[in-house]
């Protein structure tokens, strides 16, 4: 039996807006999210669309609350249908139950069977009728007003948010939209609840892709080369003009083979460099990443995961690229793998990844995903900064410079072109300390150990994971699944089961002993992730970092993991 979320989480509200092509469902969602932000609430918005490039049906799915919102709920409180064309495409994504309310325009035709069957309460909302009374009026703006009123957001806040979202759409559009908003607001004011109390001051409204971009800039990235790919492109599009303003640049490459090698070149030149991609592009980058590992050239890749394998499901989320990120390089090629735990954490994790790659002269792969990248969050301004690690530059003037020296720690000083005493040739061939190609067993062993030891010996500090609570029941998770796991833990606790969550941010090198400490005393351990193979689970097992009793709770995309399904799986086990 699914838990009754409404009673457990009274200060949260889940709303979905759907409509066919051009109906403006997404604009409605964006306006509503911005209004919630201005009302001082936490919030999260995902969006979904049909297979059409443009003009197809779309949906905005939101959740607001007075505490951080890191995942979608099991059911929606409100469904606002701008029309019902192709609604069946979204019924999987927008679960309703008898506690849900559907705002239905009587002029939109009969409610589809799939919706009435949910038992949701249907409330008539004459959006079209109202919109018609305004010249150029659009029904989605009426719906936005209704939603605002029904969730207790002040009228002025709604207006301000709408102004900000419509931005440069021109005066005519603005005034008709505001008129519609007002009409809708009236509609929804009838049984308006008490407003959710404001809890945030000056929050941010940011997407995961923007947040990864910002983290990269904070980490010092000033060169990006990349090839467009869904769902990573927006990160690049956000970065391109800002890099220029910061004195850097973004180069749109001919393909991913080029982009990864371009950033290696820039990094060799002394400029922290990054690329972003998704599964198919990451596959193409593996050879280049091996070169960066072997030549010890700092390089960061943000991989915004989508449904796999192959071209897979480009517009949907899945956490199935962990294996390739950990093990996809040929030869023994130690490197870093990290994953942000929520949208705001995209800033911190990406900054940290860049700084670690720079400091450890290696490759860092950041595993974001579509559910983070293309969603927006209302969140306190992300103030947490990564430790200010930097590349170890050559500051001595040695007689003979050994780029891959073993004499002075595993991270050797890296010169930058222009330094007269630091000339060397970087190489992907195995080499000796000087950098000269070598096939001697001793050079191979020493350099492999150097490249491995520098990563294993480093003290990563506390941020390898976020640990929440402590019970004998423990949910181990990573990346975007942390949101659903944390909320599931919350519910389990409310249900009387002390529950612990260990959400891994640094996946490789695995902080095994810290993890074992974090798991100490746990008697029931579940490893939660959104893929088919249980990739994290098997990885942790392979590192002997889980007791034999630990279980895998892995479910592939494209649907988001929901707290309820985690609670159910655990309760029924």
């Amino acid at each position: 039996m699914p838990p009754d979320h409404a009673s457990q989480l009274p200060l949260r509200l889940s709303v979905a807006v759907t409509g066919s092509g051009g109906s403006g469902a997404v604009t409605t969602g964006l306006g509503y999210l911005e209004a919630a932000a201005r009302a001082g609430l936490y919030g999260l918005m995902n969006r979904s669309a049909g297979p059409q490039i443009r003009g197809g049906e779309s949906a905005a799915m939101l959740r607001l609350g007075t505490t951080p919102v890191a995942c979608m709920d099991d059911y929606y409180d409100f469904l606002v249908g701008l029309d019902w064309l192709n609604i069946d495409r979204f019924t999987d994504e927008i679960p309703l139950n008898s506690g849900s309310r559907i705002l239905a325009d009587p002029d939109a035709g009969e409610l589809p069977e799939a919706l009435t069957a949910t038992g949701a309460q249907v409330i008539e909302a004459p959006f079209r009728e109202q919109a018609k009374t305004v010249t150029g009026g659009r029904l989605n703006m009426v719906a936005l007003g209704t939603l605002g009123a029904a969730s207790g957001i002040p009228r002025e806040t709604m207006q301000a948010a709408l102004r900000s979202v419509l931005g440069d759409k021109g005066e005519a559009v603005m005034s008709s939209s505001l008129a519609c908003l007002a009409l809708g607001y009236e509609l929804g004011s009838a049984n308006a609840p008490a407003p959710l109390p404001a809890v945030l001051e000056a929050p941010w409204n940011i997407s995961g892709n923007e947040a990864c971009g910002l983290g990269a800039l904070r980490g010092g990235v000033r060169f990006v080369a990349a090839y467009p790919i869904t769902p990573a492109s927006e990160m690049l599009e956000w970065m391109a003009p800002r890099l220029e303003q910061l004195g850097g640049s973004l180069l749109q490459a001919e393909d991913e083979l080029a982009s990864v090698n371009m950033i290696i070149g820039a990094s060799f030149g002394g400029v922290p460099a990054l690329t972003a991609t998704s599964g198919p592009g990451l596959s193409l980058m593996m050879e280049g990443l091996g070169l960066a590992v072997t030549s010890e050239t700092p390089t960061t890749v943000v991989n915004v995961m989508r449904g796999g394998p192959s071209t897979g499901i480009p517009t949907k989320s899945e956490q199935a690229d962990l294996n390739i990120a950990l093990f996809g390089l040929h030869g023994d090629a130690p490197h870093l793998v990290l994953a942000p735990l929520d949208i705001a954490d995209c800033v911190f994790t990406t900054e940290w990844a860049v700084r670690l790659a720079e400091h450890l002269q290696t490759v860092a792969i950041v595993l974001s995903d579509q559910s983070l990248g293309q969603s927006r969050a209302i969140t306190p301004a992300p103030g947490l900064r990564a430790p200010p690690l930097e590349r170890r530059r050559l500051d001595a003037t040695p007689d003979r410079y050994h780029r891959y020296s073993l004499a002075d720690g595993d991270v050797s000083a890296m010169s930058v072109p222009g330094q007269a005493c630091g000339m060397y040739t970087a190489d992907g061939l195995e080499h000796n300390e000087h950098g000269t190609p070598s096939s001697r067993a001793i050079d191979h062993l020493e350099q492999m150990e150097k490249r491995s030891r520098k990563l294993h010996a480093f003290a990563y500090g506390e941020r390898w994971a976020e640990i929440d609570g402590d019970g004998e029941l423990c949910l181990v998770t990573w990346g975007s699944s942390a949101g659903a796991a944390l909320e599931a833990a919350d519910r389990l606790r409310r249900g009387g089961t002390p529950t612990r969550v260990v959400a891994l941010r640094l996946l490789m090198p695995l902080q095994r002993s810290a993890l074992l400490d974090a798991l100490a005393g746990a008697s029931a351990i579940w490893v939660i992730e959104q893929n088919h193979g249980g990739q994290l689970f098997h990885y942790l097992v392979s590192e002997d970092a889980l007791p034999g009793s630990a279980r895998s709770l892995a479910r592939p995309g494209p649907l988001p993991l929901r707290p309820g399904e985690i609670v159910t799986a655990i309760s029924e086990a």
């Binding site: 820039a266 030149g269 400029v271």
Partner: protein, 280 residues
Amino acid sequence: MSSPAVDRRSAPRAKDYKSEIKPIWCPGCGHFAVLSAVTKALAHLALPKEEVAVVSGIGCSSRLPAYIDSYGFHGVHGRALPVAAGLKAARPDLTVIVAGGDGDGFSIGGNHFLHACRRNMNMTYIVMDNRVYGMTKGQASPTTSPDWGASKMTPRGTGVRRFQPAAIALAAGATFIARGFSGDPTELSRLLVEAICHPGFAFLQVLSPCQTFRPEQKHWKEQVHPFSEAATADPVEAAQLIHGDDGMSAGLIYAQELPVWQPENRVSADLATLEQEFRA
């Protein structure tokens, strides 16, 4: 202004630019002369070594960087041009020289060749063309003639017409196209000086015999001849010249000045200000 900074005070010699590492090349390999020509050109231009970066892929030819006393990057097969593009984008102050073979540049690296020509960044690309994969022991490359059957991998020849480096470079938009011969290192180093000074992407194909797998190339000495026409800046004329040419002529074929792609790398805002956009 894109030609590299020249410092003539110290009057350096070619050998100052040679590193202490001994080439792995076979005795008689054409690539030795390319190495000499590069060091000669660098000396002629008196470029400070530390401001030169030589980037390459994989192949016998691609071993060049380590033999030059400068910064070097010996990357993976076929990807020298992207490494160089990233380096130059980040470090416009450097003189970037890219070196490789016909396999590295025209087979696996063909796409980057096309796009590097279009992008016209200020760098020099030397392809040591021996019409064979030397490093992997003698398979046909894109510039091998279709009936060359000496490789067991294509025992009856590839049956595929030769890749035309100059014609492709021209069609792709290269702004400097020349051909040199390792058998004439003086002329080669002269072409190299021109290529390095050219503001934009300079492509220099070097006929550089493979002693081991194409021993018949020793006759190139007799076959190579100067390019019969004056270099042109007109692409149509260049296309005609290239088409009429036997591929064995040495000299500058085409040069034109066109906008160079190079980010400005000029700071106009600080990050804290940019971050404000996220405030709701």
